[in-house]
């Protein structure tokens, strides 16, 4: 009987510790504003900033006009911040796909460089509702890094 009581007490403590740990973990992942972390959300709060795969660049995207509407051409304001010193002229490419559909846009976006890391991306068109992923490739001298921005179009 004593053994059973000890086992129950141990399990109770284990459960409490597990719940506390989970709560702490949840609280740690949740940003102060209560939104899901950027890695998981499909409907980003614009502007959305993400690091490239190699960590050399921080990319900020913002639809010109503030939103993306299904089946309407749109432009993006894009900003590249280098966290390392890069050699040569930065190359920036933008495209978008629907991973679940096996296709992307029917357009080829055009990236126009502005001043101090600012770019404008024209010719974007999400012709269907669903999950799109905007891919930004940045680099120089053939060494490109990539950042992906999932977007849910309703």
């Amino acid at each position: 009987m004593g053994t059973t009581e000890n086992f129950n007490t141990t399990m109770r403590h284990f459960a409490i510790i597990t719940i506390c740990t989970l709560c702490i973990a949840c609280d740690t992942e949740k940003p102060a504003n209560g939104n899901l972390p950027p890695e998981n959300k499909l409907v980003p709060t614009w502007p959305d900033t993400r690091k490239t795969t190699g960590g050399s660049f921080s990319i900020t995207l913002n639809p010109t006009g503030g939103e993306i509407v299904e089946n309407k051409h749109f432009s993006l304001d894009l900003h590249v911040k280098s966290t390392v010193t890069t050699a040569g002229v930065l190359e920036v490419k933008v495209d978008a796909d629907m991973p679940a559909h096996g296709h992307g846009m029917n357009t080829q976006p055009e990236v126009v460089a502005g001043k101090e890391g600012a770019y404008r991306v024209d010719g974007m068109l999400f012709h269907m509702a669903g999950e799109w992923v905007i891919t930004v490739e940045v680099g120089s001298q053939g060494k490109m890094e990539r950042a992906s921005f999932p977007v849910q179009i309703e």
Binding site: E70, N71, H73, A100, H101, G102, H103, G104, N106, T107, Q108, P109, E110, D122, G123, L125, H127, M128, A129, G130
Partner: protein
């Protein structure tokens, strides 16, 4: 023992039959489905046609209407636009493949709501309705008119000549290039066709009543039709491509149709992109009226991709019940055949690959009935009689 087995089987059969019988809840739209439904109606005012300054000119529309029904424009004097775009058949053709001077390789598209489209023809090989009009007029398989023949028809008819010259100035003299003259004819064809707008279907009335606060159950669609609508915007995911108030995304998809037994393989949009880019009558050409710095965004950024192989334009579903047969090659005689295709998706396309979100729906007969019943609610009111013949 036999009695017990029979009774058990009977009870089971009655239970299963009861399961198959739809309940009122099956027609109940969820909040998410309702928000999708509201996106489908009403149709807004048609977008402008920036490459055609005559697009909404009543005089141009009247001339375009005269020409649309004028068989003298064809080389044999027997074929008009209305031959294949029959107003008595939803401005489409009951034949699977269009038949002009010869049989073509595609079905005549219905002309309802063309003003809302982004591209024209099944492969989108023109970027305006006026540029589209020039091709069947001159195609040796369709009307076979030379520019000189078209000029002689207009010049030889006092009413047509006067109407043309009031809009565009004097007809070109013999021997002059006729591209501008043809373009002007095309722009009148567009002006007429922009009036072929679907209005006030039973589905539109249903949405309007819901917006007005009426309960969905008494908003004008039967339970069967509402179940079909629920399937259309929900599990069937038809709205992925048949989106927006025109029930078309205006773009192109490969829907996994197998090879047509009597036709060559058709690359569809893959070739269409190349053709629209080199079309001298496209929005970048000298005959376009759109000269601003931000013109023709749709054409400027257009690109051809392998994915475009065997893609065809999503047709509008407005008036779909009256425009059989269906698909770019008219292979399906009935709406039920179309629904069966999407339900089964048993074949692979001969070119390209099927849109990956298209998966067999495996619809039972009752759901096919529901979907078909809903599609029939998309027929709008008839147009004014005066638009259905030469003015």
């Amino acid at each position: 023992m036999r009695w017990k087995l029979t009774t058990t089987a009977g009870v089971l059969a009655a239970f299963l039959a009861g399961c198959d019988r739809p309940s009122p809840q099956d027609a109940q739209l969820s909040g998410e489905e309702l928000s999708e439904v509201l996106k489908l109606s009403p149709l807004p005012t048609p977008p402008p046609s920036p490459t055609n300054t005559f697009a909404d000119d009543p005089g141009a529309a009247r001339l375009g209407q005269s020409l649309f029904y004028n068989a003298h424009l064809s080389s044999n004097g027997e074929i008009s636009c209305a031959t294949c775009h029959n107003p008595g058949h939803g401005f489409s053709d009951a034949k699977p493949l269009a038949e002009g001077l010869k049989t073509t390789r595609r079905h005549s598209q219905a002309l309802w709501n063309m003003a809302y489209q982004r591209w024209y023809f099944w492969d989108g090989r023109t970027d305006s309705l006026w540029a589209q009009s020039l091709q069947p007029l001159q195609s040796p398989d369709e009307m076979g008119a030379t520019p000189e023949h078209a000029l002689s028809v207009v010049a030889g008819d006092r009413t047509l000549k006067t109407a043309y010259e009031e809009l565009f100035g004097p007809l070109p003299p013999a021997g002059e290039p006729l591209d501008r003259f043809l373009t002007n004819l095309g722009k009148t064809f567009e002006a007429y066709q922009r009036q072929l707008i679907s209005t006030n279907s039973r589905f539109d009335q249903f949405v309007s009543r819901i917006r007005g606060g009426e309960p969905r159950e008494s908003a004008g669609l039967s339970e069967t039709e509402r179940r079909g609508l629920k399937l259309f915007v929900g599990r069937g995911r038809c709205i992925l491509c048949h989106s927006g108030p025109n029930l078309s995304d205006g773009e192109f998809h490969n829907i996994g149709l197998p090879k047509h037994p009597d036709l060559r393989r058709d690359s569809g949009r893959f070739e269409g992109v190349r053709l629209v880019k080199k079309d001298p009558f496209n929005g970048f050409g000298e005959f376009s009226d759109d000269r601003g710095p931000d013109t023709n965004i749709k054409l400027r950024y257009l690109i051809v991709k392998l994915n475009n192989m065997a893609e065809f334009k999503t047709p509008s579903l407005r008036h779909v019940a009256e425009t059989a047969p269906y698909m770019h090659d008219g292979r399906f005689a009935t709406l039920r055949d179309v629904i069966n295709h999407y339900s089964e998706l048993k074949d692979e396309p001969p070119l390209g690959h099927r849109e990956e979100t298209l998966l067999p729906l495996n619809l039972p007969k009752r759901e096919k009935d529901d979907l078909e019943a809903f599609l029939k609610t998309l027929t709008g009111e008839p147009l004014e009689e005066s638009l259905l013949e030469s003015p």
